[in-house]
Symmetry: C2
Subunit: 244 residues, 2 copies
């Protein structure tokens, strides 16, 4: 099976959660919108969203083609890939728990996005800068501690011997935690510095994931798109925590 991932070709965005799982899982996959030629590129992605013959069109990227199945919504794709890439537990209750955590990460991503686009995703950042400052300040003061505190609590349950979010074994949730910690470090470096002291386990998990052989190889490859200010995590210094 060669999986086909469809996502915006110039940003990490939500597609990155899928790329990380495919890479760690050692899957064969195409990142179709980043390829050139017939049947590839953004045009191919748009055709799968808007084509009249597409039975299950997605509302937005990312989506994944796996043989005949077309699956949209990041967390849904991960729930599908998880067992196939040995990145999810087997028991139903544990799978639901992994998916619940992933959906909470998805909620967090919406809030990250809205720090720079609190009024409208269709407007430029420059047209909502004032509102963005208010929203980002609230985000760093209340929302980051709420989410990271929650994830840190989950990671801490069961004592210090628990290396991963679900317990003894790596799942796609850990890869996603890596990604949000990396994103916070890019977008809000001053706030992340403080967070690293407050949420030591999460940041340690981020480091462990980063040095896994497949992830390290991926991060060093051209397949990893650099963070940039078209993505969800954006670095606008005026939105970061104040200098101390």
């Amino acid at each position: 099976m060669v999986y086909e991932l469809y996502y915006w070709p110039t940003i990490q965005g939500r597609g990155e959660f899928i790329r990380l799982a495919l890479e760690e899982g050692g899957a064969k996959y195409r990142d179709v919108a980043r390829e050139a030629g017939r049947g590839a590129g953004v045009a191919a992605m748009m055709r799968l969203m808007n084509g009249r013959d597409v039975e299950t069109p997605s509302f937005a990227p990312p989506f994944l083609k796996a043989g005949k199945i077309l699956i949209g919504q990041t967390a849904n794709i991960l729930q599908f890939l998880g067992p196939r890439l040995r990145l999810a537990p087997k028991r139903e209750a544990a799978r639901l728990w992994a998916h619940e955590l992933q959906l909470t990460i998805a909620d967090f991503m919406v809030e990250v996005h809205d720090t720079h686009h609190p009024v409208a995703s269709g407007l430029y950042y420059e047209d909502q800068k004032k509102e963005a400052r208010r929203r980002a300040a609230d985000f760093l003061r209340y929302r980051v501690p709420k989410y990271l505190g929650y994830f840190e609590k989950v990671l801490s349950q069961g004592g210090s011997q628990k290396p991963y979010m679900l317990g003894a074994k790596l799942t796609y949730v850990d890869l996603s935690i890596f990604q949000i910690i990396a994103g916070l470090g890019y977008a809000f470096p001053r706030a992340a510095l403080k967070a690293a002291r407050d949420y030591r386990r999460l940041f340690a998990l981020h480091s462990r994931i980063q040095s896994r052989p497949r992830i390290a190889a991926y991060l060093a490859s051209p397949r990893r798109i650099a963070f940039n200010n078209d993505g969800i995590f954006r670095h606008y210094p005026e939105l970061d925590a104040p200098r101390r």
Copy 2:
């Protein structure tokens, strides 16, 4: 099995999607935070979120207790309940598709919430009224057509003979579509009047769901909490479409 639903006791909110599924599915359930007495009420809900002995604590309500399993995140709960209440298809591809649609409805709900709380959910509406007007105007102009246009397209696929979102059979997705159409009618009555002309199939689906015997009985019962301005759908006339 008596399901235990945990959600804020005075609003429809995200819990309503679960209530509708439990009601249409004829399930036995308790709406625990609405009950009085020991082991009930909001205190019982908070204990399941914050108790140190809870293995899979949710980030936020709603969550569902089904025997020993505790499940959070609205769409995750529905994906669990779906097959058990005969409100989901059997094939994996179709189940993933139902879940994808539900997750897109969840995304829509975040945007509904943010029309009145674009800066911070921790602040009063009165403290972000100006920003709310900007965000709500964009929401009604661009986001409602994008989402409802998408759901209308899905409902229209396969010709006029397709009564439900997934095809011939009712699923939890249809109940959720009912809820968002009902919510729009409460929160934005002027905009909803226009939408009813533009998205006829969705509004017709809303009417059909509303008159199903179990749903009609539920809506007429005290178990249905009325829409109110503490919920996600709120009626602030200044945020609605302008009078014509």
